[in-house]
Symmetry: C2
């Protein structure tokens, strides 16, 4: 019997989950939930209902795992605890600093309802966290480095779009190649914010807008750009559409450590991602963990979980003997 | 209270475990077991007894986890099932084709004794398996590629040493850069044995030995070299000692897949290792999994486990809240 999935929120990530479900034959999309008018929302999968979020309670028996696809700023902190009492669910909550608080709220709700809830799935947090953590326990004396990019940061792109005179913007986060090379060499450098990443901005300005002023406003924006070497390129709307409509991303987590009685041996572990589509990759991680959540719930586990709590075998449709024979 | 570790077998790997224990403050080396004369074996750690393997049964109450450090060819297949009834234990059994058989034997013994036994820990099998497997469930439509090296293959070095007229030999396995590049680009090439790796041999020949004959014997050796492009360099014993006394290794596991409704997006996951010391890195993995084995045993779990069965949180000395705050 297939695992019945609900998608809660239908933006880039929700569409990515819809697509990922088609690549997992043991999964079935059961319904898409939206806060918009369901009649106005057209999804890609035929014969699957679009349901008003207001009616979600009628679906508790028809959904095995609800995949929450809202944003981390305002949607997930509210929706996740509210739904965790009623559904086995997973999300991609990615505000690192607020994870402990979010975990506590979701854990309480999930335990109250006797459900499993998994949070902060995706690639960072998610796959990067898993690799940071395992690399840290293997090489106990060492340093972790995380580089992001080259890829589109949606938060930074949005920040530029809020500037007066800006019609559209795309911001690429770019790792500094020299810094990456030093880390890969096992040199364990001390790296500040500016040493690790640069920020490349592509901006479509309104006709007659003051480009010098826009550039200045971007480069001095606190938190987002002031601490980085930032370049700004003004381009046409056509060029934006042609060259910058994708959502590529990626990055690397590198752990560089030492072993041996005299700590004489350098050892470097690197995990890297090169993604044509950031939301589709995040969606693929979510769908694999949906399988794990479903199984852990079936075993009677309850409460909030993260990637750290999931034995890898739960992620796969193969059984233990197949995994050992083919992938160990 | 620290985790009391026994080391069973004291070669390169055993010494690596001894060294790794010093980098893990919650671990304590309790004894080293050897089939040699204990009086003749000197270890690096003071005030730790070297015990005859014949007396191992007297230590069942004094060892929390036994780390088996013998070879996969003849030691581990016998020792692991024999000891799994009496000790929580782990090993680095790495004969991929025989893992299912080894698992069955160890599982039966561990269950009979009510113990936990973990097998095939290290980097391949081990960390590489974990990454192959997780990458495969995330990108369900794709291909796995495993490259080893540049690094010393001890099995291939030994094979050369058995040739008449050879005094010493070191064999490096080297990934073919063009093949790696194609895979990293997401081209999903079909690659045969010869396309992926070359073999570089450094040989010290006896005085008066027929070097042309040795080279010919190496290059045509079935299984080991015949299917590869192999180069042979004759060097002096001094040069061997100076330039080739280390045991570096490494490699990469790359999963290249596609996502999207039209499978229009390439996604590439890569896990790579660059190791100055192969046995010390393997030892570090063993020690982290010793912690997990100890905890899973304390929870009352029994039977044989692999990397696929261990929730990552079990590996770390940190508790769940610390892990979420610092590494998620």
């Amino acid at each position: 019997m297939s695992i019945r999935i609900g998608i809660y929120g239908y933006g880039n990530l929700g569409r990515g989950v819809e697509s990922a479900i088609r690549q997992n034959p043991d999964m079935e999309l059961k319904a898409v939930f939206t806060r918009r008018d369901p009649a106005a929302l057209k999804i890609r999968t035929e014969n699957v209902p679009v349901v008003s979020a207001a009616d979600v309670d009628q679906w508790t028996d028809k959904i095995d795992v609800m995949i929450l696809c809202g944003g981390s700023a305002t949607d997930l902190p509210v929706q996740t605890p509210a739904l965790a009492e009623k559904f086995t669910l997973i999300n991609s909550f990615d505000t690192h600093a607020k994870i402990p608080e979010h975990f506590a709220a979701v854990d309480a709700a999930a335990k109250k309802g006797g459900k499993v809830a998994m949070i902060s799935l995706g690639w960072d947090p998610g796959m990067f966290s898993l690799n940071r953590m395992i690399a840290s326990v293997v090489l106990t004396e060492g340093k972790n480095y995380t580089f992001w990019g080259r890829g589109v940061s949606q938060g930074h792109s949005d920040a530029i779009r809020r500037i007066e005179g800006v019609i559209d913007a795309r911001q690429y986060t770019v790792p500094v190649p020299e810094a990456v090379q030093k880390v890969r060499n096992g040199e364990n450098p001390e790296l500040g914010t500016r040493d690790m990443h640069t920020r490349e901005c592509y901006v479509v300005a309104a006709e007659g807008a003051d480009k010098a002023k826009i550039e200045q406003e971007i480069k001095t924006m606190p938190n987002y750009f002031a601490d980085y070497d930032t370049t700004v390129h003004f381009i046409s709307a056509e060029e934006m559409k042609e060259k910058h409509s994708g959502l590529p991303h990626g990055g690397f987590v590198i752990r560089s450590g030492v072993t041996g009685f005299e700590k004489e041996h350098k050892q470097v572990i690197e995990y890297s991602l090169k993604l044509d589509s950031n939301p589709e990759f995040t969606a693929c991680v979510l769908v694999a963990y949906a399988r794990a959540a479903c199984r852990m719930a079936a075993e009677g586990q309850t409460g909030c979980k993260t990637v750290f709590d999931v034995a890898p075998a739960y992620l796969s449709a193969m059984d233990g003997a197949e995994l050992r024979a083919h992938l160990l």
